[in-house]
Assembly symmetry: C2
């Protein structure tokens, strides 16, 4: 359960730790980045923002290009950047495409042969990783946790938030795959991880989940109008908002269509300050 620190990098007055730990849920060693803001280094207990990455990424990309450390430093929030899948399990087919298998765990617990023995990113992100982090790093406040993410990770942030009421103080997303059962990326992934079990598919679809949400709902979702994956119908944020509206839960859902922005880290960096601020207000940071 313990972490190995493979590098410690000064960043915005805090430290970015490159960590590795053996994980049972994913059946392999998992790498991640943990940003500790200056407040944590000076002995304060700080709230935590989980950032879930998109297809093909590791926890490194956003730590380098996402600019979350800028505001997290100022607001005294730790940021966790996990990996996007198990690595090196040698499951048949896991390395054949960039949008399924390695780098594409979709934050679900797979049930199909091969994948069920390690592609359990849902359990890893919601249970094993936070439990391990909060028992190892006493400067992290496990009672104040928020979640955000990009693309596949935006799907992860929305579904983990909606499936676990009360677990996260806030949720936001960049260009999320908001209705995976109705887009090619999601259909390919859910077929691969769940087979034809349509009930399972719906359990991990934010648009389906929001229909069942009880009570008020606050979400910040940014999507670029120049995002080619949005144009191709991979994201479908309007379906999510329509479902929230049908359920009477759209009042606090902010879908901001950001003019000309694409799907890249340039987009996220531009609004990272605002997403950290969204979390900070709800984390009491």
């Amino acid at each position: 359960m313990s972490f190995e620190t493979t590098a410690t990098i000064a960043s915005f007055g805090g430290k970015l730790l490159k960590l590795k730990h053996p994980a049972k849920s994913t059946n392999c060693d998992m790498a991640l980045n943990l940003y500790l803001p200056p407040a944590a280094l000076s002995g304060k207990t700080v709230p935590v923002l989980f950032y879930l990455s998109g297809l093909t990424c590791t926890g490194d990309n956003c730590a380098e290009k996402g600019f979350f450390q800028h505001a997290a430093s100022q607001r005294g929030i730790a940021v966790v950047y996990p990996d996007t899948s198990p690595r090196g399990l040698k499951v048949a087919g896991e390395d054949e495409s960039w949008d399924f298998g390695t780098g594409a765990g979709f934050y679900v617990d797979a049930t199909t042969p091969g994948y069920k023995d390690g592609y359990h990113m849902y359990t890893y992100i919601t249970e094993e990783l936070p439990n391990a982090l909060f028992s190892h790093f006493k400067e992290l406040d496990g009672s104040r946790v928020s979640i955000t993410g990009h693309s596949m990770g935006g799907h992860g942030a929305l579904t983990l938030f909606l499936k676990n009421p009360g677990k996260y103080k806030s949720c936001s997303a960049f260009a999320p795959i908001a209705n995976p059962i109705n887009c090619p990326w999601g259909q390919k992934a859910f077929k691969g991880y769940f087979g034809d079990d349509s009930a399972k598919w719906k359990e991990h679809d934010a648009t389906e989940l929001v229909k069942q949400w009880k009570g008020p709902l606050e979400l910040l979702i940014d999507v670029g109008t120049g995002d080619n994956f949005y144009k191709q119908g991979q994201l479908l944020p309007e379906n999510f908002v329509a479902a929230a509206k049908e359920a009477g839960n759209d009042k606090g859902v902010q879908l901001r269509m950001q003019k000309d922005y694409d799907h890249s880290y340039f987009f996220m960096a531009s609004f990272a300050d605002e997403h950290v601020e969204w979390a900070a207000k709800r984390l009491g940071a």
Copy 2:
């Protein structure tokens, strides 16, 4: 002399343009990034900050990881990220090492056989590129220009500033190679680009140049105490400050040793806001 725009990317309310143009001084097409802040897009004429990159980099790295756009957007400053050398000239030896030749032009005009036919980054950065930019992009104010850079690009920023009094409104540097004639990187490069002409070497050494500076001098230099290249004696910023002091020009030279920071973009990102602010004040931005 005209530019081809190969991509336009929304960033912090402005646009990052990926540009390509044929350059005479370097005898090849040169790629660069130009960040236009929101003010430029709304028709204002804006001052310009040149950012010179370090060894092995192109104009892309800092545009992705340096976060100069954050403050440049707010202060209404355009940022130019040029490449670090000509590319594809097929000069014998140019691709044999990472610290000489391709990706390592050192912002000098080479005089040695082969290299003298294109490794003219000094002329390219101080004359050809700005002339081309200012005639093509009318939103850039060619009379308000500042310069900064990292490592080899910090050397470039310091030497171009010191060799051209009045050309740049301000200069700052991250982890500059501040005394190249006395460090392995500089000796290898100057030997390759100038042969044994020691007068030429001194003409491109910031520590030698600062001894001849007339009048007041203001410089902001950040170096990380955890920077391995600093520890190995590649940067030698103390030599520069000592030379400025000897010449009576150290009062306005701020060398800040930043605790624990390394040589990476994490370091630059952490202080990019302050370097843009340093330029903004002197550019009247």
